[in-house]
């Protein structure tokens, strides 16, 4: 447990990052052109009295810093993210409603991609430049070049319209009446779109790092001891080769929360990305701030975990942290 102090030292930095992000979001939504008052009032926006009354009601007439302090203290003390003006729902309620679908999409996509990428990369690196390896590399390259929405349209055409295996749109909760089967069927296509892109990236990353590691002396050493190939690959080569993969894997958790927006919209999945888009178009600042805050916290936490994993995987990181 030598890595614990290094980790603890990072915590204040993380809190600071979240605070800065929340402040910048607050500024950004303030600077965005367009006024929620116009959006809410519509044609009534021409009436200065209605505008003034609504501004007072929303607290928009108070000074900017005062509003930020009010907001952040509410968040810290009661986890009170305010009330969305457009729908009159608590932002907290909106987020808890929308988070499960996004988390499910991301977790499934990440785990399945890793499960596919690791064996493919091991095989590719072991048989580097063989015909099979070239096929894996080429298809990975192809999959990376296909944009998500194009892949989505293609998969819907094949698996919903032609084969009728999966629904074209919609989301069924695990807790819904039809249980986990319907739930998995409903996320199959969007997860497949994500998996296609992620697996390709992970395979390429891990394969090239593995090839580099396989040139190292300790691998030659292990081989000359007569250890079986799978043992050399998995026990000796994989761990030192997994750093780029781990870094990208961690960052992806953050980017995917925003990156699923198009897929959530396309497949009508009630996730947090869709909430962000709806809220931005309605100038629903509090909802936007809530989403960004959640994304920032998730991003920071996941990367924090990745840092811990680094130090577990590689003793050098621990020592560097202690120095």
């Amino acid at each position: 447990m030598q890595w614990v102090p290094a980790v603890l030292r990072r915590l204040p930095k993380l809190v600071l990052v979240v605070l800065i992000v929340s402040f910048l979001t607050f500024c950004l939504t303030e600077l965005l052109p367009g006024d929620p008052v116009n959006t809410i009032l519509g044609s009534e926006a021409g009436n200065p009295e209605s505008v003034a009354a609504l501004r007072a009601e929303l607290g928009l007439d108070e000074p900017f810093l005062e509003r930020y302090v009010d907001y952040i203290s509410g968040v810290v003390t009661d986890f009170d993210l305010g009330r969305a003006y457009s729908s009159n729902f608590e932002v907290k309620e909106l987020l808890t409603n929308r988070l499960p679908a996004t988390i499910e999409l991301i977790l499934l996509a990440q785990v399945i991609s890793l499960l596919l990428a690791i064996p493919l990369a091991l095989f590719g690196a072991y048989r580097a430049d063989s015909r099979a390896d070239r096929a894996i590399t080429a298809s990975a390259f192809g999959l990376i070049s296909v944009p998500n929405f194009a892949m989505a349209v293609f998969l819907v055409y094949v698996f919903s319209l032609q084969l009728d295996w999966f629904p074209a749109v919609g989301y069924d909760r695990i807790t819904g009446p039809e249980g986990i089967g319907a739930n998995l069927r409903s996320v199959a296509l969007p997860v497949a779109v994500l998996v296609a892109g992620l697996t390709a990236v992970y395979t390429r990353l891990l394969r090239s790092d593995l090839i580099a590691t396989l040139q190292e002396d300790f691998i030659l050493m292990a081989r000359s001891k007569g250890l079986p190939t799978w043992h050399v690959m998995v026990r000796h080569a994989l761990r030192p080769s997994s750093f780029s993969l781990l870094t990208v894997f961690g960052i992806n958790f953050g980017t995917l929360i925003g990156g699923t927006v198009i897929l959530e919209y396309f497949f009508a999945i009630p996730g947090i990305g869709g909430l962000a888009v709806e809220s931005i178009t309605k100038r629903d600042y509090l909802a936007v701030q809530g989403v960004v805050l959640v994304v920032a916290v998730a991003f920071v936490l996941v990367n924090f975990l990745v840092d811990i994993l680094y130090s577990i995987l590689d003793p050098r990181v621990r020592r560097a942290g202690a120095a």
């Binding site: 052109p33 367009g34 006024d35 116009n38 959006t39 809410i40 044609s43 009534e44 926006a45 021409g46 009436n47 209605s50 009601e57 457009s86 729908s87 009159n88 729902f89 909106l94 409603n97 929308r98 679908a101 819907v156 919903s160 319209l161 009728d164 629904p167 074209a168 749109v169 919609g170 989301y171 069924d172 909760r173 819904g176 919209y265 396309f266 497949f267 009508a268 009630p270 996730g271 869709g274 909430l275 709806e278």
Partner: protein, 526 residues
């Protein structure tokens, strides 16, 4: 010819059929194009957005309307001739000065929680809508009700409304979401959380509400209404509403059989669905895109400049290029099916020679046309620019983000020359008053004609249809000549379905683009 077409359409529909549907159903359909509604079964309805609210009074989006018109009943409604009539109310009578309205409610109607519908429920409903704490966008419109009385007591069925100012449009207000009455017991029970537990008198009860995912409605077994054949409404046992934001995916979901009917405001999707063999109920005319011209300053203070622009625009080309040809060009401030639509007073049709003459007479016409940046607006404005420049105008296009745009249009004196806008065509004609009355804040083009002012004032002082028809016909004759605005095309809303599965949907609700009363939706095979 029409019958022939129907038969062919039915034959094609039969080819697509997987053989599951009863052939008898198809034959019935061809003999009676209207079809005879059958009771039973369930449908899945794809809406264009997630439901924003299930609270009575606040429903505004087409997605909200499909659901709330299932859960609630409006106090009044429009019949097929565009005349208003009582619905949940049994009678509604206005006083001569139109400042007092007496209403009697239907007897024996209960809310889904068995609370009786009575005067008390109606009074509590409007008081709740007026309360700022409710946060209803309708707070302004219901503030016209100054006080209410219940002559037969709160348990009785009579309510008298005293209005703050005389209003001929009060019955119209009760046909909108303002007139959806909710159970006072449910409000008392759930308080601020009522929006998640809506209880009305409507044909359906709320069975499940999962935001972003689905709303499930089940038939209200004690619904008060039957159709003209005596069948108890609603026809369906169950209606599931699924929000599908992407319009192309709504069509894919219909093709895959995930849903049975969907709504869309996208004309391209309507055209595409028809090409794929589906049927589209096209509801047109409750709003349109228009061009505002600032009459308070040059160049549009000269009526010839306004006429020149009207003659220069070819609305059929806009329809073809931007809307796949499925929309209807508009030459009036009223919907064509409005009882107040004056067929003899239509704004200028495309006439490039006349436009060019006028531009030459004026010695050239140069102006800036401003709009909010949407792909649709960009396309339309580019076309308008081309058409204007073809007859010698010089048009500068400018795009401004909505907030800045609204500020420009609504600023004193109007900081614009020409601008795009969306105009609602309400059936109640008094709604055009603000836009045309001298010095009214809603008069964005600074139009002023004492004769029109006088006519519009007279139009709101009487409830007599014939008298009002004459008045608004006259207004249309004048405005057609003076052109305070140019309408371009009526917006179109489509409900797309497979006619082998879903019967023709009920007519669209007046004043609310595309909304239908889901109590009348039915499955062909029951």
């Amino acid at each position: 010819v029409l019958l022939g077409l129907t038969l062919i359409a039915a034959a094609c529909g039969g080819d697509d059929d997987d053989g599951g549907a009863a052939p008898d159903g198809n034959t019935d359909d061809t003999e009676q194009p209207e079809g005879t509604p059958v009771k039973g079964g369930e449908l899945v309805f794809g809406t264009e957005s997630d439901v924003a609210t299930l609270d009575a009074g606040a429903a505004a989006q087409p997605a909200d309307k499909v659901i709330t018109l299932g859960i609630y009943d409006p106090l009044t409604t429009y019949n097929e001739d565009g005349e208003i009539e009582p619905y949940l109310a049994e009678t509604l009578t206005g006083s001569d000065d139109l400042q007092t309205y007496e209403m009697t409610l239907r007897d024996g109607v209960t809310f889904h929680d068995d609370t009786p519908l009575n005067a008390d429920a109606v009074v509590k409903h409007f008081n709740r809508m007026k309360d700022p704490a409710t946060g209803c966008p309708c707070q302004g419109s219901v503030s016209i009700i100054e006080s209410m009385e219940t002559p037969d007591g709160p348990e009785g069925l009579a309510v008298t409304f005293h209005l703050a100012t005389p209003s001929v449009a009060f019955p119209d207000l009760l046909a909108r979401s303002e007139g959806y009455v909710e159970s006072p017991a449910a409000v008392a029970q759930h308080g601020a959380d009522y929006k998640n537990h809506p209880v009305g008198t409507g044909p359906f009860e709320l069975a499940e509400f999962t935001p972003g995912e689905r709303v499930v409605l089940t038939a209200n077994p004690d619904y008060w209404k039957t159709d003209e054949n005596g069948i108890q409404l609603p026809y369906l046992d169950k209606l599931t509403i699924r929000p599908i934001p992407d319009t192309g995916q709504r069509l894919a979901a219909l093709q895959a059989g995930d849903i049975d009917i969907f709504q869309t405001a996208d004309s391209g999707t309507v055209a595409q669905a028809e090409e794929s063999g589906f049927t589209a109920q096209k509801i047109s005319g409750s709003s349109s895109t228009i061009i505002l011209m600032n009459i308070s300053k040059p160049p549009f203070n000269d009526v010839r400049a306004r006429q020149a622009l009207a003659y220069a625009i070819n609305k059929d080309v806009i329809n073809e290029r931007v809307y796949s040809g499925v929309r209807t060009p508009s030459y009036s401030g009223f919907a064509t099916d409005s009882p107040y639509f004056n067929e003899d007073a239509q704004t200028p049709k495309y006439d490039p020679e006349r436009a060019e003459e006028l531009v030459n007479e004026l010695g050239g016409l140069e102006f800036e046309l401003v709009c909010i940046p949407t792909p649709e607006a960009d396309q339309i404005l580019q076309l308008v620019k081309q058409m204007g420049e073809a007859v010698g105008m010089k048009i500068t296009l400018s795009s401004q983000e909505q907030g800045a745009y609204v500020n420009r249009i609504f600023s004193k004196g109007g900081d614009y020359e020409a601008a795009c806008f969306r105009n609602n065509h309400f059936i109640e004609p008094d709604q055009i008053r603000a836009g045309l009355t001298t010095d009214d804040p809603g008069n964005l083009v600074f139009y002023s004609n004492p004769e029109v002012d006088e006519l519009l004032d007279r139009g709101r002082q009487t409830a007599d249809f014939d008298e009002r028809k004459e008045i608004y016909d006259e207004v249309q004759v004048i405005t057609t000549e003076e052109l305070p605005t140019i309408t371009t095309l009526y917006d179109l809303f489509g409900n797309v379905y497979d006619e082998d599965i879903v019967g023709p949907p009920p007519p669209g609700e007046a004043n609310s683009l595309g909304a239908i009363k889901p109590g009348y939706l039915y499955r062909v095979d029951g």
